[in-house]
């Protein structure tokens, strides 16, 4: 029996590794966001921040978290997409700060507070650009104030606004909408009401999807 023992041990470990890996893969596979039929993506769009013309044939709606690195790496390509497809594409950004990111909610409040002074997208872009700096900071709020100063905002108003019920209410509205759409993670993107699978959340795949959505939309 002893001569077979190493073979038995190695085979057992191989089987356990494959089974364990498969179980873990199954457990970790991301649920794709679903868009229940009764929820129209047009409902409540006024709550989000929109870039692009209201009558654009294609709408890209993003649920993002400013502290989420993949959201950060998608920010610039999404801006480029909006620029390249203007005026046929409009982008909507909605807050979905994840609980495991300690500064994400403060960042969302900062962006919304900047939005109250008409500088939402500038703060949005700056937060993503500086993500690696403030996400490591012990007190990110100090940095957010510095960014507000850089953008030329009224600092006193910014600091008052970011703690206001109005700002918190806007974020809560976005979260309510995310919940209704089945969004569980970030970034989650919908193009013309269709959820984009997580595997396609990279610049080239998004461009191809927008391309495909635009073609039938502009065909008479």
């Amino acid at each position: 029996m002893k001569r077979y023992l190493p073979f038995v041990i190695v085979t057992l470990v191989a089987l356990l590794s494959i089974t364990g890996g498969a179980v873990l893969y199954h457990a970790k596979r991301l649920p794709e966001p679903s868009a229940p039929k009764q929820v129209s993506l047009r409902e409540g769009t006024e709550g989000g921040h929109i870039r692009g013309p209201a009558d654009a044939p294609v709408t890209l709606e993003e649920f993002g978290d400013y502290e989420c690195p993949p959201c950060g790496s998608l920010a610039a390509p999404l801006n480029q997409l909006e620029h390249d497809y203007r005026p046929r594409l409009r982008m909507t950004f909605r807050n979905f700060p994840l609980n495991n990111h300690p500064h994400a909610r403060d960042a969302a409040c900062a962006a919304e507070a900047a939005g109250l002074q008409g500088r939402f997208w500038e703060m949005h872009d700056l937060l993503y650009k500086e993500q690696s700096t403030w996400s490591r900071a012990a007190d990110a709020r100090v940095l957010f104030s510095a960014y507000a100063g850089t953008l030329g905002l009224d600092l006193a108003r910014f600091e008052r606004d970011r703690d206001s019920d109005k700002v918190k209410g806007r974020i809560a509205d976005d979260e309510k909408r995310a919940s209704a759409l089945g969004v569980k993670t970030t970034p989650s993107i919908f193009i013309n009401d269709q959820p984009i699978p997580s595997a396609a959340l990279h610049p080239s795949a998004l461009r191809a999807t927008v391309d495909a959505a635009i073609k039938p939309a502009v065909t008479p």
């Binding site: 590794s17 970790k28 991301l30 989420c68 690195p69 994840l98 690696s132």
Partner: protein, 155 residues
């Protein structure tokens, strides 16, 4: 195979302290299992696109999301898992007296040590970020390399 094993075991008995060798290779097998678990976790994370969600620190994302984390489109962690399983197998056979497995064990650990040094250099000098799961894997490989250096020598 049996006769080869017996011959190897007999040779081992003549040249090594058998009890010391068994303990050393058994410890190596257990350490390799830790590396295997870590590499499987990283492989699954890469295959599920876990780096797309925000489960890890920004540093982990920078490392695991970089082009250095894949080789020909395959997550490098998958090669790591295969390497740790190979090391585990050789260590197990070596613990049971297979002399050839001892040499293959040393050779594989040597190769892994070299790859680990390269990956650490990539993290430190190119990416300027360290992934803690990769550091755990590096620690496991260093431990295994330490065992290779410390293994009993022919008298």
């Amino acid at each position: 195979m049996n006769s080869r094993r017996s011959a190897s075991a007999a040779t081992a008995a003549n040249t090594f302290s058998p009890r010391g060798s068994v303990i050393l290779y058994a410890v190596a097998a257990v350490i390799a299992l830790i590396g295997l678990a870590d590499a499987i976790y990283l492989s699954v994370q890469a295959l599920t696109g876990e780096t797309l969600v925000c489960g890890g620190s920004p540093d982990c994302f920078r490392v695991l999301g970089s082009s250095y984390a894949r080789l020909g489109g395959i997550p490098i962690a998958l090669f790591g898992a295969l390497a740790y399983f190979t090391v585990f197998s050789f260590a197990t056979f070596a613990a049971f007296g297979y002399n050839r497995a001892r040499n293959l064990f040393s050779l594989t650990v040597g190769l892994m040590f070299a790859v680990t040094l390269w990956l650490l250099a990539v993290q430190a000098l190119i990416l300027h970020a360290f992934c803690r799961f990769c550091l755990l894997s590096a620690a496991v490989t260093f431990l295994l390399a330490g065992l290779v250096v410390a293994r009993p020598r022919p008298s």
